[in-house]
Structures are given as C-alpha cells and as structure tokens.
C-alpha cells in the first residue's frame, strides 16, 4: 500500500483527508457529546444529504452545476440546517430536542425528492452515503484542509468559552459569556466539519466519527484536555485502520472506520471493567 500511496494521487488525497478528519471530527465531537447534542450531527448530515442530492440532480439539468463540486451545496445545506436548528430550539424552548427530528426529517425528505427526480445516482450517491477511498479529489482535500484550519483556530481561541458553556451553561451565561454568538458559530463549524468529513466516512456515518471516539475517551480521561487528546487518538486509529482495510478489502471506508471505532469503544469498556 505504501508504494501505491506514492503512485496514486487519489490515495494520497484519501489518506491525508482521512488523517485530518480523524483529528477535527473527534476534536469538535467532544464539545458536542458533553453538551448532549450528539444527535445534532446526525440531523446536519442528513441535511447535507439533501444538498448533495440537490447538487447531483441539478448537475443533470443545469450546466453550471455539472462543474460544481457537490460538497459545496452539501456543506451550504448543513450550515443553513444548523442555523435553523438554533432558531427552532428557541421557538420550542421547553422541547429543545424537537428541533433535531424536524430538521433531520426535512433533510431526508428533500434528499428523497432529489434522488427520485434524478432517477437515482448510482455509485456517485453510494460514495457520498458511505464514503469512498477513490472518489476524494485534490479539490476535496483542499476543502478539508481549509476547514481544518478554521476548526483548529476556533477551538484554540475559544477553548475556555466552549469549556464553560459545555460544563455549566447557566454559570457561563451569568458570568457574561455571549452564549448566543458562540453557539451560532459552533453550529456553523459543526456543519462545515460534517461537510468536510462526508467524502471519506459518508453522510450516514459522519456523526459516528464525532461521537464514538469521544464515547471511548470520556471513559478513560480524568481531565477535559485528556479527553480531547484521547478522542483524537482514538479517531486517528480508527481512520488509519479503517482506510487500510477499506483499500485491501475494496469496501466503503465509512463502514470500516466506524466498525473500528466500535471495536475501540468495546475494548476500552472491557479494559475499564477488568481494571475495576
């Protein structure tokens, strides 16, 4: 495989994108999980599906869209979805979680309409649903790199605010932290990470890479920084093992990455049980 990596550009794209996603998805995922918002990434990935399906359909109809990378519309749809979730959470103050199934259903609904209109997309769509090693273009890699820079800067500079809001939102509000602005920025960043990750892990499995490594990390970490390091470590292990096995077995990397994450989580839970 090492020789193939040096020979084929698509493999370099896939490996580099995978490693970057293995870093940013669990990194952001920790903040999502501890705030009990795990389902939000699921809802947004389904909204991204609507954007991707819409873009693929339009590419059959309008020349402009034929040249446009579907990732852009997918990402744009996820960003709009994230802002709508925030808006709905305020409308349904007592039933905040209701915003998630509303947006998730809307995403699947629009996705289904576009897929039907286009009479199916074949392998293109399967690649977006479950990820693909061969379909990652150089342009996709650049998008992933750009988003990674944004995510890392966001977490680096707003780490203390994000921690405060995650640990004790009421205290954070009282102490004068502008929750509304930071929360809106956080949702947009989450949508962008979902957009960036879907090429490798696929729309249906992207939320797993944001939650499973974190689920394992919070079992072993004592500190928040520790949980962040473990989340990234488990995420990277899952991506590396997942991509290698996907390459050799010629199957979708989304599946192998997520199944590896599940195994890591089971191993951690087993290790914890044995230790106690």
């Amino acid at each position: 495989m090492i020789e193939a990596i040096f020979t084929y550009e698509f493999l370099q794209n896939a490996i580099l994108s995978g490693l970057i996603i293995g870093l940013i998805a669990p990194m952001l995922g920790l903040f999502i999980v501890v705030r009990r918002m795990s389902m939000i990434s699921d809802a947004l990935s389904h909204v991204a599906l609507a954007g991707i399906a819409g873009s693929l359909y339009l590419s059959q109809q309008v020349l402009f869209f034929a040249a446009l990378n579907p990732v852009y519309l997918g990402m744009g749809a996820a960003v709009v979805g994230s802002l709508l979730i925030e808006r709905l959470r305020r409308v349904y103050k007592s039933f905040e979680e209701l915003a998630i199934p509303i947006i998730l259903s809307a995403g699947i609904g629009f996705g289904a309409i576009f897929i039907s209109l286009a009479k199916g997309f074949g392998t293109d769509l399967v690649g977006y649903l479950f990820g693909s090693v061969s379909a990652v273009s150089r342009q996709d890699l650049y998008i992933v790199m750009l988003i990674a820079v944004m995510v890392i800067a966001f977490i680096y500079f707003l780490y203390k605010e994000l921690f405060s809001l995650a640990f004790d939102p009421e205290y954070a509000r009282v102490s004068g932290i502008n929750e509304r602005v930071i929360q809106a920025a956080f949702m947009i960043i989450t949508a962008l990470v979902i957009g960036a990750s879907m090429r490798i892990v696929g729309i249906l499995l992207v939320s797993s890479l944001m939650t499973l490594p974190v689920a394992a990390a919070i079992q072993v970490a004592k500190s928040y920084k520790g949980a962040l390091v473990y989340s990234i470590l488990f995420g990277e292990i899952a991506v590396v093992i997942g991509l290698i096995s996907a390459y050799y077995l010629d199957i979708a990397p989304g599946g192998t990455i997520v199944v590896t994450s599940v195994f890591i989580l089971l191993l951690v839970l087993f290790w914890k049980k044995v230790r106690s």
């Binding site: 680096y156 203390k160 004790d168 205290y171 500190s223 928040y224 520790g226």
Partner: protein, 258 residues
C-alpha cells in the same frame, strides 16, 4: 438614591408569569460586607428574584441597580460570583479536573480569544486554597463528594475576586455533616475577606445564626433586617409568613426544623 457601598439595590420589583404574580413589590438593599440569608417556602419567588438579580430574567416592574448603576448597563459580571444548586450544575461524569473547573471562573474576565496562562492557573490554585481544596486540584470533579464539589464551585466563583457571592440553595444534596462546615466556611469568607453574600436557603436555623441580615420572602418581603430583629419575631409571626408551623430551636436541640 443609592449608598456608595450599595451592591444590590432592588426597588419595587414585581414579576408576573402569565397572569400569576411571582413577586410583588419587593425592595431590598445589600451593601458591602453584609451576609444576607434569603429564606422562604417553596414557590415563594426566591429563585425568580435571584434570576432577576443575575440578569437572567427581566422583571415586569421595578428597578435594579448593581454596584450603584442600572443593571442594563452593568458589564462587570466578574464582581459577582454565582453558585447554583449542585444538582443542576453539571453531569457527574463530565471529564474535567478540579483545576479546569475553577479556571473556568476566569473565562469572562479574561476576555474573548485569550488563553489561560500560568498566572491564571496560580489564581485558581489560590482560590482552591481558600476553600481548602488545593490538594485535590488534579482530581476529576466527578470523583469528589457533594460537599467537596460545592467547595470547588465556590472556588470557581471566588477566582475572579468578586465583591458579592450569590448562592441558590448550595447545600441541596450535601450530607448534614458537611453542611455545617460548608456554612462556617461561608461565614469565614464574609468576615475575613469582606465578601458580601446573598444566600437563598431552606435551612432556616443553621443560616439565621450565621447571617448578619435576613430577608423573609413569600412573593413579597415579610421581614428584612438585621439578625437581632429577626430573633425577636415570635414563632406565630414566623409561621404566619411561612405558611406552616415554625418552631425555633434552642442550642441543645440537634435537629433543625425546616
């Protein structure tokens, strides 16, 4: 007009939820160095009043001044330390050390985009020394007992050097043995550091011994004043305000009555 050492000045606060009155014409002033116990039965509006003081709720009527200025233009939140009920505060499995939690009390004071440095860490350790928890700084917050966690939350409130501590039933969920040492620590903070305290509680007998001032709330203020005047109130007067029989305890009795 407010006094120059006025920290909280509430004038004629009335608050309605839909059509029911939660607070009616409440006026109260807390000055520097005072230790106020705000007591009252369930549903008496204590938490609503705290939310109004903390700026989480806008009253239907009345004015609020914090540190001598109107609440709307108040932007020195670090001067107020807030400790909520332990049960609401966090998920016990949250992965964070004691030191990380205390440092988070400096977040707003530090300002956006700035990261914590060594000096902030030292301030957090100093705050932990005050509540006698410095030796537990690297432990996970979830591994501590309820009383210890509440001490950590006080350290988080103290780390920004506030002039006022506001506490909403901080001993809920803490075992009785630890409650007394918790309250004596509060009393020490008030006496030695001159921090004003506004404490909402159900534990009338324990707190009324420590507080310098007492306010009895049941939608409106039924009594407010210094501790000595509160002691002069008869049990019948207390019961009338509280809504059910209240019996004062003497020193030799061990079980306080709520």
């Amino acid at each position: 007009m407010y006094m120059t050492n006025s920290i909280i000045n509430l004038e004629h606060i009335t608050h309605k939820f839909n059509h029911s009155i939660a607070l009616s014409d409440v006026s109260l002033e807390v000055k520097q160095g005072e230790f106020w116990a705000l007591i009252g039965p369930n549903g008496s509006g204590k938490s609503t009043l705290l939310k109004i003081i903390l700026g989480l709720l806008k009253p239907s009527q009345g004015t609020i001044e914090l540190f001598g200025g109107p609440i709307d233009s108040f932007n020195q939140q670090q001067r107020i330390g807030y400790v909520s009920q332990k049960s609401n505060a966090f998920t016990t499995k949250f992965p964070a050390t004691v030191l990380e939690v205390v440092k988070s009390g400096l977040t707003a004071k530090k300002g956006l985009f700035k990261r914590f440095d060594k000096e902030d860490e030292q301030q957090a350790i100093d705050a932990l020394h005050i509540v006698k928890m410095a030796d537990r700084k690297d432990e996970s917050i979830g591994d501590l007992s309820g009383g210890q966690q509440q001490r950590v939350f006080i350290a988080r409130a103290l780390v920004s050097h506030p002039d006022l501590l506001i506490m909403d039933e901080p001993t809920v969920g803490i075992d009785r043995q630890n409650v007394e040492s918790f309250y004596s620590m509060l009393s020490e903070l008030n006496r030695e550091y001159g921090i004003a305290i506004l404490l909402v509680t159900h534990e009338i007998d324990v707190v009324t011994k420590l507080a310098t001032h007492i306010a009895c709330l049941n939608r409106s203020i039924h009594f407010h004043g210094v501790h000595a005047d509160y002691e002069k109130m008869s049990e019948a007067e207390l019961s009338g305000w509280y809504g059910h029989p209240i019996r004062r305890l003497h020193q030799k009795e061990t079980e306080p009555v709520k």
